[in-house]
Each structure stands twice: as C-alpha cells, then as structure tokens.
C-alpha cells in the first residue's frame, strides 16, 4: 500500500507549486493511471514515491513506512522504475542492463543469470539479444528491456512514467497489453503516468486526473466514463468514447455502401 499524504513540491522556493497538498492511497495490486495535461504535476507526484524528488511538505509511506527514512538507493532497488527515455546503459550489454539491480543488491551470480534469462523470455525477446548492446535494438525492444530491468530485483511496486509514449501505436498497444498481464501475474502495484486517456482506460483499474498540481478526479474507468461533475474532466473522459463512436460510424458508412 502506497500512501501519499498532503505532499507539496515547489521548485522555486515557494513561488509556485508543481503539486500542492496531494493525497493518494494506492492499495496493493492495484493498477493506477495518472492522467492530466503536461505541467499538471503527474510526473512530480510519481517521483516523490521513489525519492527522485523530495517533497517540501507532507510524506509518502510504503506499507506504513515513511520513504524518507530509507536511503534513496535502497528504496529504489525495491521499486521498479520505467520512463519514456528508457535510459538503458549504452556501454553494457542487454544482459548486464537487466542484471544491474540484482547485482547492486549482491545476489549470487548464478541466481542473477537465471533471473536475466527468465526476464528476457517474460518480455518476449529472443535470448540471442542478451549479448547485444542497446544501440542494436529498436525502440520497442529497448523498452521491453527497460521493463525487464525494472522487474529484475522482484519489486512489487512499479512506477511508470509515460513508458510507451515514444513508441509507434502498434508496439504501444501490444506492450501495454503484455504489461497488464505481467502486472496480474506478478501481483504488482503499478502507478503509470500517461497522457493517453484511451491507454489509461484500457489498462488501469483506477484513473486519477490531475490539473494544476492537484487531483481533480479519482475513480474506476467506468465511473469516470459515465460522467463527472467537473466539466473539464467530463470532456477529457468523453474523448475515448467520441473517438470510438467516430470510428464505428466510419466503418458502418463503408459497410453500407
């Protein structure tokens, strides 16, 4: 269980706030999507959880333990982190990239190697890729490695910051669906920041909408899809439905000819 309690963060010494007074509770094994415009504070919120950003006020607790009492590197070894930039280490092979966190923790070498092989299959990449360098892989393949690397040390929390944002639509869809299966199978708790409402609707158990550093809506996809008091949230959530209707109309028009 992740608890964000009254967290505020200002990057300019209190002039303006990226997030202000945010409260959020994410029970274990939930898949939460955080959506909102750019600058709404969703990435800042995500990064306060693994201490890539330290809040000015409030605190974040994981299973009741404040994260500020754990050394940042130790905390991050327990939390998977995937982001749009991927950030594979270009001087390390795919195998070395995947095995990095277990090795930092000090797992025995045979166990690390077994885990690397298990993960490359889990993210559906050929084993032969293990000896390659990141530069030799496509964007989608690289993000599969990014996910494998985040999962390597068996974290139960995954933080994902627009993980599929830079991928082409087909890869994006496939990878999203596959990740959702991994989430189930490995009993993960996932927080995913995305600006794609459709992706959020299709993947998440729960959607959090942010605007100007605050949470303006929080609910299951079907609740939010069926209307909300805030007009902007309504417009936002209507978009997937409108798009789907337009697509259906197009298909039927053609079929009628």
């Amino acid at each position: 269980m992740i608890a964000v309690e009254n967290v505020s963060k200002s990057f300019d010494g209190g002039g303006s706030f990226a997030i202000r007074g945010v409260n959020l509770r994410v029970p274990a094994r939930t898949f939460v999507a955080i959506v909102g415009d750019s600058g709404s504070g969703k990435t800042t919120l995500l990064k306060t959880i693994n201490r890539l950003i330290e809040p000015n006020e409030g605190e974040v607790l994981i299973d009741g333990e404040p994260v500020c009492t754990v050394a940042p590197h130790a905390l991050r070894r327990r939390i998977g982190y995937v982001f749009q930039g991927i950030g594979l280490f270009p001087h390390m092979s795919i195998a070395e990239n995947i095995g990095i966190t277990p090795r930092l923790i000090g797992w025995p070498e045979p166990q690390v190697r077994a885990r690397i092989e298990e993960l490359i299959e889990l993210v559906a990449l050929p084993r032969a890729y293990l000896t390659r360098l990141p530069a030799e892989l496509s964007g989608g393949q690289r993000q599969r490695v990014g996910i494998a690397r985040a999962l390597a040390a068996r974290p139960y929390i995954m933080l994902m910051d627009e993980p599929f944002g830079a991928l082409d639509p087909l890869t994006r869809d496939a990878l999203g669906t596959e990740y959702r299966r991994l989430h189930e199978r490995m009993r993960l708790t996932t927080l995913m920041v995305t600006h794609d409402i459709l992706e959020a609707v299709l993947l998440a158990d729960r959607i959090v909408v942010m605007r100007a550093g605050a949470i303006v809506a929080d609910g299951e996809p079907h609740e939010l899809l069926s209307g909300h008091s805030d007009p902007e949230v309504r417009t936002l959530m209507d978009m997937p439905r409108r798009q789907a209707e337009r697509v259906r109309a197009l298909v039927e028009e053609r079929g009628g000819e």
């Binding site: 982190y81 930039g85 594979l88 990095i100 966190t101 930092l104 690397r149």
Partner: protein, 543 residues
C-alpha cells in the same frame, strides 16, 4: 654530416630516456590530479568555473616562463627545508620541469572530462539513480566509463603537448630531447636541431597512437586492445627507466655551462681537467643565464664560467660602472660575502659587447674608434642582437658618445653577421670573443671612454667546493691562461658553417694551444687580463 649524426645517436639513449621519464611522470601526475578535480567539478558548477579558468590561465603562460618560474619557488622551498629538516632537495632539473609540465597536462584532460560528463544523456543518469545506484556507483559504473573515450582523447592531446613542451626543460637543467635543439641552435649544428625535432615528433606520435589504441579499446569495449596499448606504453617507460642514467648518481663533480658555444667549450675543458685527475664529472649545459649562478650558489653545480659585467648588474644589481680592476675586486668580496661563492680569477679574455665594422668600410671612413664612428653614424645603420637595444650598454654608448644612427635593426646573432657582410647594415654589436670577428676580419672599434662595462670571463666555485683541492688543481692553471684570440678561434671551430668541430674537440685544441697540457708552464697565473684587442695573427694553427 655522418659524424654529426653519429654524435647525435650516441647521446640518444640518455636524452630520449630522460625525456620519456619526465613526460610520463608529468602525465601520470597530471591525470592523478585532474581526475579528483573532475569528480569534484562534475556536480558543482560553482567549482567548475574557477577550476577550468585556472587551468586555461596556466595554459596561456608561455611554457618557458612557467618552467623558469618554478625554479626560484623550489629554491626557496629547498632552503627552507634545509633549514628546518637539515636536508634540501635539488631545485634544478627534474622537479621544476615535472611541476610545470604537470600543470600543462591538466587542462585538456579536465576540459574533455568535464565536457564528456556534462553531456551525458540525462535519461541515462536518471536510469542510474532509478535502478538504485549510489552516487559513487553511478560515477564508477556509468559516468566514468561513458566519459572514458573522451577523457582518453584529452589525455592524448595532453601527451602530445607535454612531450613537445618537455624540450623546453633543457634550460632549467633537465636533460631532454631539447638538448639537441638548444645546443644545435647555438653552434649552428642543424643536423642536431633537426634530429631533436624529429625524435620529439616521433615520440609524440608513437605515444599518441598507443593512447589511441587504448581509446579504441574503451570505445569499442574491447579490453584486450586497451590492455595492449597500456602494456606497450608501460614497457616504453620501463625501458626508459632501465637506461643507465649517465648524468646522475656517480658524478663527483658537476660543471655548469650556459647555452652558447664558448660556455660548452670551457665546460668541456674544465671537465677534462678534473677527469684527468681520475674523478667522474657531469656537465650540466644549456643552463639559462639566470639559473647558472643560482645553481652554483645552491651547490647544484660546482663550478662554471661567468662574466664580470653580468654578475655586476644581474647578481649584485649594481648600476655604477667602476673600472675593470675595481669591478673584479668588488665582485670577489661581495660574491664571497653574500653567497659564499669564490671568484677564482679571470681566464684572460673578455666576452663584452663591441661595435664592429667591415674592414673596407672602416678604412674608407677612417673609423677605428666609437668616437670617430659618432661623426659618421647618422649615415649608417646599426644591427644589434635581439636584446641589445634594451640593454644598459646601448644607453651608455649613446650618452657617452652621442651616437645616433640612421636606423637600428635587431637580428638573431647568426643573421646579424650575415646582414653586415651583405651590406644591409654597416655596424653591428658583436661579442668580443666571437669567432666570426676573426673569420670575417671585422674591425672592432675602440672604446676610449669606457662606455661598455668589462665582461671578463671568470671562474666561479660553489661555496662547498671553495677549497676543494681537486677543483683547485684543475682550475688554477686556467687563470690568465686563455687569450682572446685563442678563445675566438675555438668558438669559430664550433660555429663555422663547414668543417665543424664539437665543443669537446675545440676544448682539446684550446688546451693544446694555450699550453695547458702536462707542461707545468702557467702562462701568467697572477697576470691581470689585458683589455682585449682583436688580433687574429699569431694564432696556433688548428688541428
């Protein structure tokens, strides 16, 4: 030609190994200093700016000045050390060269390193933190490995600079490939100059290529390439270290020399006289004019030849100009009192500034003294060496004789003589012991008003060698024994364009001509040196 080449090859192991050791030590120390600076500067922009600015500033100081500046600093530290701990360290040679070259090597390494680390993809750094690396792990596993190829490129630049600049360590008393260049330039031995340049370039290129191999190995992740490069480099340094150091250790006496032919010849003459008594001698040649006396006073050399006028103005900082005898007497007393240095006596000739003309021109104008020259000077052009027009001699000549020339031009000495012979100038400033005066039959103009101070060549002894019997036996017979015409001829043997002799050969000729060999006949040990008059006649024939 062949003789010059083979003489160059003979000293190559010594010069090359010293050059390699100096460059390698400077680079290693430079790398050792820049990496911590780099690590400190990578996070703190406040530190980054001053560090880079300081490194750039050092780079703009002319290399030779930087090398020279360390000498007085080290000398001060050494004497402080001696006073506090009872042991000093040599302030000349390796140490000042090492420090200056180390400072030079830092900038390229630092600048490339900082650029590399600042330009790392932020996504990679975020990932490094994200997977749970500590700051240290991130530095060692991600930042440094990714910056390594560029850091190596900086090290390569640095290596080429250091190897090139190390040639300038020669004037501060450190043997290097620069010895070929400095000595070669002075005695106009172009084979040596070219040989020194070629050897330096070859060494720099080879080092650069080996470092490139390491760089390639790091960039392509092929460790065996990097290790091969490193092994070859270390092998080269080890080989240099294994060359028996000719110039250190077992020498019982050290004879110094400044950086011109006459000094080489006299140093060779003195060393051979000490060696003849069965003692090992090392020559430390090409000392910058400023360093020679300080090195003597500090006991780093035992003896060398200097000139009264130079000591008077540069060491005692006197501006008055007493006569030849009083200057000699005062110097003897003052040098002893202030520095403990013993002025043994004058050799018998002067190396002073003189004004010289082509013989035909002098006869046509009826000019034999500077006084007579002053009348016709407004129609003539004066050629001086590079420093003459800034020296007190020029000021005094103008004041005492009212000299005014139509034009004044500065030349490098070799070209000054050529300019005179090709009628580009009519009068030149020569040195009285210069061999070319006799060779070109130049007329040296008299100085009846004594405007130019005396520059008697005198033998100096360091404080601790003051009463050394070996040195005394070797040096005392030289006093008053070398007339100007012999010195001129010996200088000419070394400097003439054809049929050149080495300084050692010229020294042997000089010893024979001045009857210094075996025969116990002192020419005139107590004789005061006569003011020199040019007389190429009556000179013993060269070998």
């Amino acid at each position: 030609m062949n003789e010059r080449l083979s003489s160059a090859l003979r000293v190559l192991p010594d010069y090359l190994s010293q050059h390699v050791l100096l460059s390698a030590a400077s680079l290693a120390l430079g790398l050792l200093l820049s990496v911590p600076l780099l690590i400190a500067a990578r996070r703190s922009a406040r530190l980054r700016w001053p560090v880079l600015a300081a490194a750039s500033l050092i780079q703009t100081v002319p290399s030779i000045a930087l090398l020279a500046l360390f000498y007085p600093v080290l000398l001060g530290l050494s004497s402080l050390c001696k006073r506090l701990l009872g042991v000093g360290f040599p302030a000349l040679g390796f140490l000042p060269s090492l420090l200056a070259l180390t400072l030079y090597s830092i900038l390229p390494i630092l600048r490339n390193g900082i650029t590399a680390i600042l330009n790392l993809d932020p996504a990679i750094l975020q990932a490094a933190s994200g997977v749970g690396m500590t700051d240290r792990q991130r530095l060692l596993r991600v930042e440094l490995p990714l910056a390594a190829p560029m850091l190596m490129a900086g090290l390569r630049t640095s290596a080429v600079w250091v190897i090139g600049t190390a040639t300038l360590a020669t004037p501060v008393g450190q043997t290097s490939l620069g010895n070929y260049i400095f000595t070669g330039l002075q005695v106009e031995n172009w084979v040596w100059v070219l040989f020194g340049c070629a050897a330096t370039v070859a060494l720099a290129l080879l080092t650069d290529q080996l470092l490139a191999l390491i760089e390639l190995g790091l960039a392509r992740r092929r460790p065996q390439l990097a290790w091969t490069g490193l092994a070859l480099l270390l092998l080269g340094v080890a080989a240099a270290g294994a060359v028996p150091v000719r110039s250190a250790g077992h020498a019982e006496y050290v004879v110094g020399a400044k950086d011109f032919s006459e000094q080489y010849i006299l140093a060779s003459l003195i060393s051979s006289r000490i060696r003849a008594q069965g003692y090992a001698v090392r020559e430390r040649t090409d000392l910058g004019s400023v360093f020679a006396f300080r090195a003597l006073a500090a006991g780093e050399i035992d003896t060398y030849v200097d000139y009264t006028g130079t000591l008077w103005t540069n060491i005692l900082h006197r501006t008055d100009m007493p006569g030849q005898r009083r200057m000699l007497r005062d110097l003897r007393v003052q040098l002893r009192r202030r520095y403990g240095v013993v002025l043994l006596g004058p050799l018998g000739f002067q190396n002073a500034y003189v004004l010289a003309m082509r013989p035909g021109e002098a006869a046509r104008l009826g000019v034999h003294t500077i006084r007579a020259l002053a009348r016709v000077a407004p129609e003539l052009t004066l050629g001086g060496d590079l420093e003459f027009f800034a020296r007190p001699e020029w000021r005094m000549l103008r004041e005492k004789y009212g000299l005014h020339f139509r034009a004044e031009r500065s030349y490098e000495p070799t070209f000054m003589y050529k300019a005179l012979m090709s009628h580009e100038v009519d009068v030149i400033t020569a040195f009285s012991s210069d061999g070319r005066i006799a060779a070109d039959h130049l007329v040296v103009l008299g100085d009846p008003l004594h405007a130019i101070p005396p520059y008697d060549a005198v033998v100096l002894l360091s404080p601790q060698s003051a009463s050394n019997p070996v040195l005394r036996r070797a040096l005392e017979p030289l006093i008053g024994a070398i007339p100007i015409n012999l010195m001129r001829h010996a200088n000419y043997m070394v400097e003439r364009p054809a049929d050149k002799r080495t300084p050692a050969q010229a020294a042997r000729w000089l010893a024979r001509a001045a009857h210094l060999n075996g025969a116990r006949r002192r020419v005139t040990a107590r004789r005061r040196p006569r003011p020199s008059t040019p007389s190429p006649r009556g000179m013993p024939s060269p070998p």
